[in-house]
């Protein structure tokens, strides 16, 4: 085991006690096909710590009520907890004001909100929207729908063989027709961390707003919307150790103010008559209907949990996992890693010439290992590299070096069969 180099192990131990942290996640103790679960599908969704589960339980057992406008005790308690969660999100991404934090169902809804509201208002025939070749379908399809409706054009930033955006080509795509740039911060398939700061600077020189799909970044690296100066940022709670069905759209206050509502209904109004409706102020203007109250409070708890460990430390821990896994996977004959960007998050897509990812997935499942196999909702990436699918191991704050060994050993067994 010459690859088990001392530095990586030591670094991991010194950053935090991962075995102590694993105790917080009850699901990590379950057996899958008589093997200890080795959960390496964190880019799809993360597991939830007991603290978040307790918060959800506490909400439904002692606080459950509909928020805003209620005059009774429970409604007040629930409203306070909900709005407190909003402030936690605001602080987590360092937004200027909680008015800039809108609760949605997830990243997909956040992007659709911008497409429907900002997009419908500002995109006209002949205009252009720029996205990249490494977008998740959720950052492609809403813009396609909008472009079809408005007879606008979708422009695609190409990527190179390592899975990095070709920056010069991006600059060439910018023109006075460009009305929005929407790019992924961290690629869910390739792990690439995109140079979003430079993208935003280039865009703002031309007065073009930028949306960042941060679904795969808020859980892996510190995100500061004021430093980035992004105009919109979207992410999901469930990839940040929080519940499913809750997500965030951050938007700069002045831009959100200028946007029409996305959905109509309760809570987003201030006065309704049959002749006319005046809309509620931010952020409520964009939160029609009863929100996922438990989800929002649960997300607040997940943010507390992540903050208690420290996102900087999580980034170091996952960086060590990425380095070790990359090194060890290279031991497996015939394995090629897809996505070799210089700046990468702890996501590793890999392929074999002669073994289909689906077969890999089934074999690994029998070792208790959960990886994702398929196109990862990024079919244009598969087309770019001319492959049908990949297997993807993605790491979270609770993964260990031993789990990397379990994966590598299992893969070595698989290739013996084929």
């Amino acid at each position: 085991m010459t690859f088990k180099q001392e530095p990586a192990v030591q670094e991991l131990k010194s950053i935090y006690d991962v075995y102590r942290i694993r105790e917080d996640f009850p699901i990590l103790k379950i057996k899958v096909r008589k093997k200890t679960l080795c959960y390496l599908d964190n880019a799809a969704t993360t597991q939830k710590p007991q603290q978040v589960l307790d918060t959800l339980n506490k909400y439904y057992t002692s606080m459950n009520s509909n928020i805003h406008r209620g005059v009774h005790y429970l409604s007040g308690v629930a409203t306070d907890a909900f709005e407190e969660a909003r402030i936690k999100v605001k602080n987590f991404i360092n937004a200027k004001s909680e008015k800039e934090i809108i609760f949605t169902r997830g990243t997909t809804e956040s992007i659709n909100l911008v497409a429907h509201s900002f997009g419908r208002k500002n995109i006209k025939e002949g205009d252009e929207i720029i996205i990249s070749n490494m977008e998740h379908h959720s950052n492609i399809v809403p813009w396609q729908l909008l472009c079809n409706e408005k007879k606008a054009k979708l422009k695609i930033i190409p990527i190179d063989d390592n899975g990095e955006i070709i920056f010069d080509d991006f600059l060439k795509l910018i023109s006075n027709k460009t009305k929005l740039i929407s790019v992924v911060y961290v690629s869910n398939s390739l792990g690439t961390i995109n140079p979003v700061k430079q993208i935003i600077e280039a865009a703002h020189k031309n007065n073009i707003p930028v949306l960042l799909d941060a679904a795969q970044s808020v859980n892996h690296l510190p995100v500061d919307v004021q430093k980035l100066d992004c105009d919109f940022l979207a992410f999901s709670g469930h990839k940040l150790y929080g519940p499913t069905g809750i997500g965030i759209l951050y938007g700069k206050e002045n831009i959100l103010e200028s946007m029409p509502p996305f959905m109509g209904g309760g809570d987003m109004i201030s006065k309704v008559t049959f002749e006319e409706t005046t809309f509620n102020e931010l952020p409520f203007k964009f939160e029609a209907g009863t929100s996922n109250i438990a989800g929002a409070i649960g997300l607040g708890s997940a943010i507390d949990y992540v903050a208690s460990i420290g996102i900087d430390k999580i980034a170091v821990h996952e960086g060590a996992l990425l380095d070790y896994a990359t090194q060890r996977l290279k031991e497996v004959p015939g394995l090629a890693i897809l996505g070799n960007a210089k700046h990468k998050s702890a996501v590793i897509s890999f392929i074999f010439d002669n073994i289909h990812p689906h077969d890999i997935g089934t074999f690994l499942d029998y070792e208790g290992i959960a990886v994702r196999t398929g196109h990862h909702c990024t079919q244009p990436i598969m087309q770019r590299y001319n492959i049908p699918a990949t297997s993807r191991a993605s790491f979270g704050l609770y993964n260990t070096l031993e789990e990397v060994d379990v994966l590598v050993d299992a893969l070595k067994k698989v290739i013996e069969v084929f």
Partner: protein
């Protein structure tokens, strides 16, 4: 060592058909073709048929997919050749019943011949689509239906 369910699924015959698929080419004499696609895993298959007087004179396939889908296509191509359209349809019904646990194995496994090696699929409901993609595509080609067949 391999788990017994896995060994049942990935039998030597299947691994062999995966490695060296039979009739894996474009059929120049084809008069019916269809394309199959499984959006779940990206599997793609093209089926080529030479049908004359209701009989499958020749069959071939091309495409990419997992071991189960490739082996299933390869095995299908070897058993369907020379069969009538009706016989091919019936064979698929039996085969589909086998992999979805609707068939009493002892009763009619003999009729399935070589196809019986895919019986292990029944322990893996997620993989039924892999094993049946080639068949659905062939049936579509028999109908001379040019639409892409999807398993989703």
């Amino acid at each position: 060592m391999l788990n017994s369910e896995l060994r049942e699924l990935y039998q030597q015959v299947i691994l062999d058909h995966n490695k060296s698929p039979r009739n894996f080419k474009k059929l120049e004499t084809a008069n019916r073709t269809a394309e199959g696609y499984n959006p779940l895993c990206g599997d793609k298959i093209d089926i080529f048929l030479d049908v004359e007087n209701g009989i499958v004179k020749d069959i071939s396939f091309q495409g990419s997919g997992c071991a189960i889908s490739k082996a299933s296509a390869s095995l299908m191509s070897t058993v369907v050749k020379g069969k009538t359209i009706e016989e091919a349809k019936k064979l698929f019904e039996k085969f589909h019943d086998l992999i979805t646990r609707k068939l009493d194995e002892d009763e009619s496994i003999e009729e399935l011949g070589k196809l019986a090696v895919l019986a292990g699929v029944k322990e893996f409901p997620i993989r039924v689509k892999c094993a049946s993609l080639a068949w659905h595509t062939m049936l579509s080609a028999l109908k001379n239906d040019d639409k892409t067949v999807k398993t989703e």
